[in-house]
Symmetry: C2
Subunit: 205 residues, 2 copies
DNA sequence: ATTTGATAATTTTGTTTAAAAAGTCAGGAA
DNA sequence: TTCCTGACTTTTTAAACAAAATTATCAAAT
């Protein structure tokens, strides 16, 4: 196998880093390929040597973020002793991720519809991972007799994540997209923590 | 006070009925004032005698729907014996309302942003009513010793409604607006019923 | 107080055009 | 052969304008 430290991979990483900074600061549509190339003191054409097009470059950056996200989440959930703390770790991790990378997701606000399939795959993978980690934690608690048996743990976790994800802020400024505003993230975070406690309690014996 | 059966009110009602049919069948943007007037065999100008503009006509129709909605909900919740059945009545009523009037809400899908303030007021009133009815049911269950005491019942209900409202369908067709697709309404309905059972159980002693 | 035909004002839709950005390619350098 | 670029072409975006559709108004009639 080729080393991950091969020169072309190094350069690829540099491109991803520079792109991430631009996307994070200015958003997808306000970032041009010329600017990214300029930041790296290379020609725009070279970007197209490494990536087929702009959207795939964005996808690659997102993939990197997702990998980090999943790694940190796995680590945190593994360190959890019970279902409740596993959920709290998930909520915490998600909140952290959103706050840190908020502007990066301009892409979603502006495009809204017709997001490339690759993006949905990444989101699907993240979601799948969350379900696996949390349903493991659920099964453990069931086995330990902490919560009542659940027919299909995976479905149960899916449902709860769905409910948690749906928590929004009842704001007067109902303008704009369904994407939460940055100033609401903390409130949503708190609400989710409150909710999950009730939820897990509801699962208890 | 003037009778609700005064001739001008009768005509007003006829206009509202005809408008509702048009809006329900074709949606807001595909309904013209000429068509509504045509249905009623009256001049378009007369519509403007009764309503200041098209959006206020839509609001008036919606107001009528909302009044019905609230009345039925109040009735159903009053007939409930405990918190769980009260919630089920709410979920049921909401689902019914959405299925029946689905196309009427094209307005929301198309306008998406900048919905007139009056609409938000109506939605706010509905939500307020739901909170009042359900928090009453909650307090009753607390008093009956069925569930543990809650600090601020109204906030608790608000939070739960928020979570229930957030339930969506994890579909491949992530296209289009955040407004649920008609073919997903039943699935959402079932999920909410499952969720609320866990929730109320979580509140229990 | 109600109603309308005629008309005014606004919004939507479509077209054109210029600029900006995305994307391509033949060929040079390592 | 892999990496890289300048110059080029194609596509997208934005502004300006006109035509058509629709909303909204109003003087006059009932």
């Amino acid at each position: 196998m080729s080393s991950v430290n091969a020169p072309q991979d190094i350069k690829r990483e540099k491109i991803l880093d520079a792109s991430y900074q631009r996307f994070l600061h200015y958003g997808y549509s306000k970032t041009t390929m010329n600017e990214i190339a300029g930041d790296l003191a290379m020609s725009k054409a070279l970007l197209y040597y490494y990536f087929p097009d702009k959207s795939q470059l964005y996808v690659a950056v997102m993939n990197k973020l997702a990998t980090d996200f999943i790694n940190v989440l796995t680590e945190k959930v593994a360190a959890s002793t019970d279902l409740l703390s596993a959920f709290k770790a998930q909520i915490d991790n998600h909140h952290n991720f959103m706050v840190t990378n908020y502007n990066f997701f301009d892409f979603f606000r502006l495009n809204e519809q017709n997001i490339p399939a690759e993006i949905w795959e990444i989101i699907g993978t993240i979601h799948q991972t969350e379900i696996e980690l949390l349903s493991d934690a659920l099964v453990k608690d069931v086995d330990a007799g902490k919560v009542t048996a659940v027919e299909v743990p995976v479905d149960m976790i899916d449902l709860i994540l769905d409910a948690l994800h749906g928590v929004k802020v009842r704001a007067m400024s109902h303008k704009k997209t369904g994407f939460p505003l940055k100033e609401h993230l903390d409130e949503i975070y708190q609400k989710r923590l409150t909710l999950i406690e009730i939820f897990v309690k509801g699962l208890g014996c």
